[in-house]
Assembly symmetry: C2
Homo-oligomer: 199 residues x 2
Amino acid sequence: LEQFTREDALRREGYRHACHIMLYGDSSAKLFGKIPIKHIVLMQMRFDGLLGFPGGLVNPSKETLEAGLSRELHEEVGVAVPVGVDNHVSSCLSPSCPQLITHFYIKKMTEAELREIERAAVAAATDHGLEVLGMVRVPLYFLKNGGGLPYFLSHSFISNSRAQLLSALQRCRLLSQGELEKAVRQAEQMRRTNSGDPH
Amino acid sequence: LEQFTREDALRREGYRHACHIMLYGDSSAKLFGKIPIKHIVLMQMRFDGLLGFPGGLVNPSKETLEAGLSRELHEEVGVAVPVGVDNHVSSCLSPSCPQLITHFYIKKMTEAELREIERAAVAAATDHGLEVLGMVRVPLYFLKNGGGLPYFLSHSFISNSRAQLLSALQRCRLLSQGELEKAVRQAEQMRRTNSGDPH
């Protein structure tokens, strides 16, 4: 995917812009009282049935990318989440839409703030049950037979959001390169195995 | 899958029992102000990264199947949801676990009751962020290129829950046989296409 700086991307004419963000934080909770959850990473089930990050289309002639992303977040997660240029991590051509540049952001929050976002997403967000079918946390641990991150990665994702997730997990050092490769390998195996499954 | 009546299943010795439920209702909401949502159907992202219905293991020597399912629902969705024998629809051998019988239930609720369950699942459920990573609604409409139900069905599901979903949609007449076949066909095509995708 062709990469741009934020500034170069904004200088291009004739392109639309979409901004998405990974909201994440640390957690000391343990699954079944013994498996460390380690981190909370929020994604969502979108109206089209695919998994993706919160965000949406932004018109840079009317608002900054970050103000537009904050506006989309308010509609989708129900609370104001300030986003700054310092949260920007990458801009690239969309692999699925022509003439679209996708900007990706990452923001670290506390466990309490993330929980408040999950609450507001159901209780206050105008998009709940419409553009957003639900917020989900990404499991970052490994259970038996592919349970955890590998099973999660075997789902269907919008555009390059699965690649954005993997790249962000590496950038934020939430998982090692070896763990990410193992998860991707197991996810592909599961996707192949269950392809054409009569279930 | 070998099917039993509820009574025959309970008479079998040496088996464990699991109960799951589809909570659903009607909605007059419209996506983008024009595409009818028609119905709300609740599923969840499980701790293992797979999609499934709320529920879990029940010990019939200690509680009825329905009382056990209500208990599991309280842990997972945060509110008491009464379940009766009249909500039972099928019992069969689990395709993924030996010596396990899975019982499936369906309960119709109002849109307001379903929304209250989604709120409580985040705000009050003890399992939130642990055994349950989030509740999601199932899209029952068809958008362009497989968006909606087909994309949703291309995800990874626990055990026979995808088959339970399809069978319940037919039983409750939420979709026609033709619509279900179209959705399954498109989902399988998407799963094959994206298998081994380097994204």
